[in-house]
Symmetry: D3
Subunit: 212 residues, 6 copies
Amino acid sequence: MRILVVNPNRLDGCTDGIRRAAESVAAPGTEIVAVQPEFGPVELAGQREVLLSAVGVLDCVARHGPGAAAVVLAGFGEPGREAVQETVDVPVLDITECAPAVAGLLGRSYTVVTSTRQAVPVVEDRLRALGLLGRCAGIVPVGLGVAEMLERPEETRETVVEAAKRAEGDVVVLGCGGMAGMGRSVRVTTGLPVVDGVTAAVALAESLVRLD
Amino acid sequence: MRILVVNPNRLDGCTDGIRRAAESVAAPGTEIVAVQPEFGPVELAGQREVLLSAVGVLDCVARHGPGAAAVVLAGFGEPGREAVQETVDVPVLDITECAPAVAGLLGRSYTVVTSTRQAVPVVEDRLRALGLLGRCAGIVPVGLGVAEMLERPEETRETVVEAAKRAEGDVVVLGCGGMAGMGRSVRVTTGLPVVDGVTAAVALAESLVRLD
Amino acid sequence: MRILVVNPNRLDGCTDGIRRAAESVAAPGTEIVAVQPEFGPVELAGQREVLLSAVGVLDCVARHGPGAAAVVLAGFGEPGREAVQETVDVPVLDITECAPAVAGLLGRSYTVVTSTRQAVPVVEDRLRALGLLGRCAGIVPVGLGVAEMLERPEETRETVVEAAKRAEGDVVVLGCGGMAGMGRSVRVTTGLPVVDGVTAAVALAESLVRLD
Amino acid sequence: MRILVVNPNRLDGCTDGIRRAAESVAAPGTEIVAVQPEFGPVELAGQREVLLSAVGVLDCVARHGPGAAAVVLAGFGEPGREAVQETVDVPVLDITECAPAVAGLLGRSYTVVTSTRQAVPVVEDRLRALGLLGRCAGIVPVGLGVAEMLERPEETRETVVEAAKRAEGDVVVLGCGGMAGMGRSVRVTTGLPVVDGVTAAVALAESLVRLD
Amino acid sequence: MRILVVNPNRLDGCTDGIRRAAESVAAPGTEIVAVQPEFGPVELAGQREVLLSAVGVLDCVARHGPGAAAVVLAGFGEPGREAVQETVDVPVLDITECAPAVAGLLGRSYTVVTSTRQAVPVVEDRLRALGLLGRCAGIVPVGLGVAEMLERPEETRETVVEAAKRAEGDVVVLGCGGMAGMGRSVRVTTGLPVVDGVTAAVALAESLVRLD
Amino acid sequence: MRILVVNPNRLDGCTDGIRRAAESVAAPGTEIVAVQPEFGPVELAGQREVLLSAVGVLDCVARHGPGAAAVVLAGFGEPGREAVQETVDVPVLDITECAPAVAGLLGRSYTVVTSTRQAVPVVEDRLRALGLLGRCAGIVPVGLGVAEMLERPEETRETVVEAAKRAEGDVVVLGCGGMAGMGRSVRVTTGLPVVDGVTAAVALAESLVRLD
């Protein structure tokens, strides 16, 4: 089974981190293909870049989608799942939906830890549109953009741990592709249940394919 | 005062209808500039076209926005207001927000009459993201795309009247740019309060400018 | 076009302030007629006075309503719009509805700054009845009654500015007739979007008349 | 213990019916004093009369309240409880709150049977303001005003029974003072749990006094 | 009239306290029969004991229910009312429902003071299932189990008073059978309206019987 | 990996069906252990049996839980997940939560098809307690108990297909252990996405274990 994982930004290090996180959870026999747009904004700082990136994501799916058993959109808070689903017959999973779905099995509320202050309304709007705000106890920015996270991974991990410790919800959701792969480490350090959107989506994608 | 009104599709007749509707309500001294994207999908049949059209809308605002006192986005259910607002300092109004705001002053619930069955979830998602679903009594498609509406205006008016008569809410909202300008006629025929998103947005845009 | 603006209390200074605020935003050609009840409570300290004042408001509309193109009720949180609407054919606008409608175009949540602690449940009940509590981030009293505001305008302005700076919502709503006319000043001092119920209602009244 | 029951309209037969219903459920030793306003509208057909009646209700409580252990407001959907509570130290109970409270102990949803079509939005607004709409499965008018009910009691009973049989909720609430005393008969005929606001409020008033 | 009051735990002192509280509010002629399960957990520390206790409660009702005019379940947050109602024809009242019903007549929001931190999600889940979370301003544990409360009544009273003073809601609900009988004392000390679930349920049970 | 699947009733055929459904979706290397209570009600017709069955379920988990990597509770609408989770360290999954979680990835609303009319409030209460009613478009009984389903499998399949065709939601959830294994067949016949709670829970259980 091949799963196409699309990073909406164009930071190579972020796509690499997403690939590694996805592969770490994939079942034997699952092939992860992690891609990023060939054009569009390099980093998604605000609503404008988020909207522009969707074109490149659609292009990615058109190029790399054929043959995939499922598509995972790895931008937390990004629009596009409904649009991508119109173009392929296989399940399309948005990490913004998958992380709360898994968090809901682990606790009664969750806190999203995200990148910058500007990302907060983007994430909030998407969760509201999906009808998932009800159990969300908060959306907390760590104050670092994705490029900064890639440059200073240790500092990023520490700020994420700090944010997780102050979280009001039962479960911590890592709401940013730049945090892909940090789930286990944050969980071990804080003792809290932690959901990484990318690994959650890959696991759910495999489930959907098997249930079909 | 100049108001830039952006039609997200590329049907000349639709842009013309939107311009005429906007001009019919504009105060003396208000100049309406109605434009449409220079590239992107001609008609917005589904979520994919809706998403792709947003790039052309951003381009329209970059080209024609300077000098405008307000920007009106004339696609019902379209995303983009938050992204456009990041690029200009003047108020940006989405007809999907303006129509329910005016409807709320006229009654306690409203029904949206929209184009095709595919448009219903697009409109529903946008209203939910905006927190405006609570007073929405229904979203009813007339079964005609915008291009068909332009070709068969009389049939369109009749199906809109029929849908309005069956509406459960107190107020009828015309939720499609292709219906711009039909408000008065539908109101006279049905005796119901009718809100046309384009005229509502132009009136509110003038109000916001004056209140500033 | 004549707009009748009814102040529910009987403080001349308050009615004057409401008139000036209304005139400051009215379009050329719009005549503002600002009135107050001929009988009933002078100041509306609690729910009892609020209820009693409604009789005088109905009387005002019976006397001064004929010939008006719209009626604005300038008491924030006051009941009566539905009752007044039964007695006239023109639009009746309650500032308690108009301020959130305009605030919704400027941000995703709003804080109401009101007079005294006793006014808080009055405002909360009215917003709930109108279905407008969802986006309300808080109702904050400044601890001054309307008569005190009229006597000490500078202190009032300062306490309103302080309350606005601490507001949790994106937009500040001036939820008291005694604050009519302070919108611009509070906005300039705080840098926040500020909505004055009276000016919002006059602008919306003109919009509704034009849209009709 | 004396309980003051205030009928907001000025129909003697309605006040008599309310008195009889209240007495039928009162504990031994409880004295029921049923009164009606000395001025104001005779029948409450719409929102205007409802608002005007509140002045006479406040006057009733000022005259007859001293010495009472509790006050019951017997108008379904009427405002005024908060205002009356400001004027007396004893519990003030609104039948619009008491009937859903008792219905909630008998089932998971309730339907309100009320007088005329005009009463529906009055009742709906009051239930929403009280936060009680969530479990309300419907508000059904029988198409008779209170004066008509008094003239044609048998026809009234039959239309109430018909409405009760079609009700969607688990419990039937008699939402009109003109139906006071019909609870048992409607329950026996339909086999459904039926709550009469007046008797529910008297029983709850006695409970509150005893719990104090 | 006989009312069967069932304490779900097997602490004799708790059953005694519940009996005394129930008798303190019962009308002359009402006989209170207070019982506890003959088997099952002695104290209900978590969800497992809560679930296990329900079997003993059903057994209590089977043994002592015949001849009772109403059954009161005196465990705050316990499941079982729906199950018990299937086995008897008389009203079954859960103090988790009765306390909010009475609190709703006394104020617009209530805070539940409960035993331990583990009890909080039990209470929250039950209130949500009953549709009663909307007006709940908080659930505050005092950090004492029921057995501890019985051993140290004075310390319990003081911690309950402290919790009541910090409560955000208008009304304090004593959400634990171990606090039965403390209502008046907490009310006098704090000056706040206080609802004791057991006395509220007994008063409502008498009301329902009389209304039948 | 071993997954313990607990059927709350004591119908051997139902436990067999649940085992086969679970095995059909389990990954290679996953061992399914399907059990049923050793005591308690044979079939769960109402709320009383549902409550009583929970003791036997707890006993099952105490006996068979050690060594399992996850526990699946296969009763739709049954309480007990929170209680069981207190007794084991591995994830405990309730099919009442898992089916809506998977349905949410496949569509925006779901309809539950369940056994008898008596099961409807049981399911509704559990979904409300879990905060999952928002996207539920309906709960439709087929009018057959689990024992009847086992005796007449072909008739059961046909009534489930009929109910699925009339469903208002986008996705059909099989909300009864007696329907375990029918998912694919109902999907093929109706062309609708169908979620079987048992297979969904097994797939999610494997995901949670892998994500840990």
